[in-house]
Symmetry: C2
Subunit: 290 residues, 2 copies
């Protein structure tokens, strides 16, 4: 199953037979005080740096979140979408919990975006899916509802099924435009959550064959040596069926681990991308040395 | 299922509910010309360095291979076993293709060793399993026979079944003392071999529930950035059911990746070993800085 995203000039395909899709998480003011202050003043210069660093790091899609208290998030989203699309032709993932922000962002976006996200709550489904349909976008579905973020992988799969049923049945959104988030929780709070995420991925793959994405940085939250945890969890999740992640594209350790997973799972024929990246790195190092 | 190895004073348990067992691969003259020359002269001083480096790196068992052309391998194995057991109380894995070397090594060994290895060939089974039984050792079984190293995971499982049947049925070796090697081949020669190894691991776990080990360095042979490939493949294999590997215990990147896998698969309760290792590292770095 292929989820095809696009900008004005570029297409990215997410699928179980494709190289893993690295979605850069960085254009997000959560926990970044200075960035929030800049955004409140309408200063988007930080976004330019975040774009450049993530493109250099190997991002294939960029998540854009403008969630800033006391700011006009819809206006910021429109400005950010226009700015980022002027800087790169990578497709974007528009990330907000506010319907109007998603709507404004989708209207400003050129191409087919990924919407982050809808839950299995009736109200959210009814508000967000018509937007997704109208703009011809794809959407990330989170398997939680009004009552719970389920612990049990089978319950997550049920809620994912609800999202898929409503999106395809009621709104005519093709199943390949639905990307399910199996939910990755912080391992530091509960060391059983990693296994549950992996089980959810395997079940979702078996039952629906859909594409999946999760916030890879969540897993290591609050733990030391986060990059090593991320670099170990991603290959496990990819082997189980994860096809993309919203992740730190600036971390060579984490990005290289998913590129290694591509080689090891035969998504990098003859390892040619792996070898080419190594040669480019060597050439760069040599140039830096002269 | 628990495979319990021991030295005179220490026990190591391999199992699906245990931290991953790191078997240090380094005491092996293959491809080490200087080491081979030293061994031919009866000089085992290099072994002392290899032991120290691997213990420092986090090895839990040490593989000992004395395969040196034009040398008395049995005598070297006896000397190496005695030397290594005087230097560390880690259990050992005695590694040779020659029956007499294994016999001599097992006779000299104090504790319960792991024998590396037996294949599914009738002649090898008949020669090695009586030794394993007599010395009360555990044994690594390689699922290849006279005709082939099978490509097909199901055929590997059949040959593993043959080894298990003969060892348990004819020689009374308990199944928990049989550690199956799912066979990890170089990805550089054929990018489909990684998937086949992972499939074999999953099938072996489902069918027999046995412990498993493989030579982790094989996978990345001939490829650039080998440690990153190893650090990505091990977590995948561990999630599928691998419980130990003969690996480069001197590489912090690879060892940390299996420790991360322990945390992520709930084999490191509360992440306490992970956090303790991080603190020890910090303390060491601080000391180095002062």
């Amino acid at each position: 199953m292929h989820t095809v995203l696009s900008s004005a000039n570029r297409t990215v395909t997410i699928g179980h037979d494709q190289p893993f899709c690295v979605i850069g998480e960085r254009i997000n003011p959560t926990g970044r005080k200075l960035f929030q202050e800049q955004l409140r003043r309408g200063d988007l210069s930080r976004v330019e740096i975040d774009v450049a660093e993530q493109v250099a790091g190997g991002a294939m899609v960029l998540d854009v979140n403008m969630g800033t208290p006391l700011a006009d998030e819809a206006a910021l989203m429109v400005s950010a979408v226009k700015l980022v699309q002027s800087l790169t032709d990578l497709p974007l993932c528009l990330d907000s919990s506010i319907i109007e922000v998603l709507d404004a962002g989708l209207a400003a976006y050129r191409g087919k975006a990924l919407v982050n996200s809808v839950t299995a709550e009736d109200e959210r489904l009814a508000a967000i899916l018509p937007l997704v349909k109208r703009h011809g976008a794809a959407v990330i579905g989170l398997p939680n509802d009004e009552r719970e973020i389920p612990d049990d992988p089978r319950r997550r799969v049920e809620l994912a099924g609800k999202i898929i049923d409503v999106a395809t049945g009621r709104y005519g959104i093709p199943i390949e435009d639905i990307v399910i988030d199996p939910l990755a929780m912080p391992i530091g709070a509960d060391t059983t959550v990693g296994i549950k995420t992996l089980e959810t991925i395997a079940l979702l793959r078996e039952k629906f064959g859909v594409n999946m994405t999760f916030g890879a940085s969540n897993v290591s939250f609050g733990m030391p040596d986060r990059h090593t945890l991320g670099a170990a969890f991603l290959p496990m999740a990819i082997a189980a069926g994860l096809t993309s992640a919203i992740m730190d594209a600036r971390s060579p350790q984490i990005v290289r681990s998913v590129k290694a997973a591509d080689v090891l799972l035969d998504h990098d024929p003859w390892g040619s991308a792996w070898i080419a990246a190594h040669r480019a790195q060597q050439a760069q190092a040599q140039q830096a040395g002269t």
